[in-house]
């Protein structure tokens, strides 16, 4: 598996980023949806801290991923794929990139505006984006965090559905070249 993407397939780094971030987002969403319903105990505080630490990790990975992707070319789309589908797929990818950037940023923003601590895995202090308590932007940032998350969920249904459709109906190698195909 080449490091860089080629005309026929994705490079190993693109795949590593894609799947590690996908798994982390799945874990992160599960934690996020569970933790907000917990009663106030130290366990809740720790789970919140975990959510924030994983979220900042995702943000860092997404930034690295985008930086790397900007130096890459993408493999050719399947021959005979209608133009509108190519455009829709590429547009959706762009929006997905925007969301996986904006969701952790909005979480970080909400946390900053709440004046809540953020210590990455108990290791170092992540600075505040708002320089302290900001009761005006706090509810807006939270609304953004929640809304963008659900927008992502909806778009992922389309994204995963399209991948499966390519694989099982079109029988092309769109999914395979993101997974294991050399």
């Amino acid at each position: 598996m080449p490091l860089r993407s080629t005309d026929s397939g994705w490079g190993v780094l693109v795949r590593a980023f894609h799947w590690s971030i996908a798994i982390l987002i799945l874990v992160q969403a599960t934690i996020g949806l569970t933790m907000v319903g917990m009663g106030l105990t130290p366990a809740k505080v720790r789970v919140f801290a975990l959510h924030k630490s994983i979220g900042i990790t995702i943000l860092a990975l997404v930034l690295l991923r985008i930086a790397w992707r900007l130096t890459e070319r993408r493999p050719a789309d399947p021959a005979g794929m209608p133009r509108w589908q190519v455009r829709a797929a590429h547009a959706l990818h762009l929006v997905l990139y925007g969301l996986i950037l904006a969701i952790p940023l909005s979480g970080w923003w909400f946390n900053s505006a709440s004046n809540a601590p953020l210590v990455w895995f108990g290791w170092f202090d992540v600075p505040s984006l708002t320089g302290g308590y900001d009761p005006v932007w706090k509810p807006r940032a939270l609304l953004l965090h929640q809304t963008l998350f659900w927008v992502l969920v909806v778009l992922l249904v389309g994204h995963v559905g399209a991948a499966l459709w390519h694989h099982f109906r079109q029988r092309d190698d769109v999914l395979r070249r993101m997974l294991w195909k050399r």
């Binding site: 106030l40 105990t41 130290p42 505080v45 801290a49 709440s114 004046n115 809540a116 601590p117 210590v119 108990g122 202090d125 302290g132 308590y133 009761p135």
Partner: protein, 202 residues
């Protein structure tokens, strides 16, 4: 009235006058410009909070520490750490339990001078129904007729049962709390009496 009774009366009055506590200078606190803050750590990150409402009775003359007296009542519900979730939790039963203990009270028992010249005020703090001795360091600066009073104390929240049990872990909430009072004082005056000119200067 016989001479006998009148002289007894005079003696009693004299004794009463001498024995009556000579009040140290009473001050009036400028509440709008005075603060009662504290620092503590939450998830190892230092934060500052304050009690926005408190009532301090200050009698203090640096030249007469024997008659100095601080008596402070703090409205617990006025807690503000600039984090509404944290404030809400802090007032709950696991922490300050403001519904049952709406006030904290500090009153001095004695003032003394430390070896380094610092003034120390020993007193009793009653917080969440628990009374413990607490010592303040006192910095009093007079400027014109007014004065500023800065006091600092080190407390342990667990001494007062604030967040015990599952919340005792100091890596979650630090045990040590530094309390700082910054008071702006004006000479207290009886109602209707015009302030002395000196009280307004400077």
């Amino acid at each position: 009235m016989t001479t006998k009774t009148s002289s007894t009366f005079l003696a009693v009055m004299l004794i009463a006058l001498v024995a009556a506590p000579a009040w140290a200078q009473p001050w009036q606190v400028d509440a709008a410009r005075s603060t009662l803050t504290f620092t503590n750590t939450y998830q190892t990150v230092t934060y500052t909070g304050q009690f926005r409402r408190f009532n301090a009775k200050i009698e203090y003359d640096p030249a007469d520490l024997a008659h100095a007296r601080f008596d402070v009542e703090v409205d617990i519900a006025s807690l503000d750490t600039e984090n509404s979730e944290r404030d809400h939790a802090a007032l709950g039963t696991a922490f300050f339990d403001a519904a049952r203990f709406p006030q904290a009270h500090f009153v001095t028992t004695a003032f003394r001078k430390a070896a380094n010249g610092e003034v120390l005020a020993d007193g009793t703090l009653t917080l969440r129904g628990i009374s413990k001795p607490v010592t303040l360091t006192v910095k009093f600066v007079q400027k014109g007729g007014d004065a500023t009073l800065d006091v600092t104390a080190q407390l342990r929240r667990l001494d007062f049962g604030i967040g015990t049990g599952e919340w005792a872990d100091p890596s979650m909430i630090g045990d040590a709390v530094t309390v700082q009072g910054h008071l702006l004082l004006e000479p207290a005056r009886a109602p209707g009496v015009q302030p002395a000119a000196s009280a307004r200067s400077g």
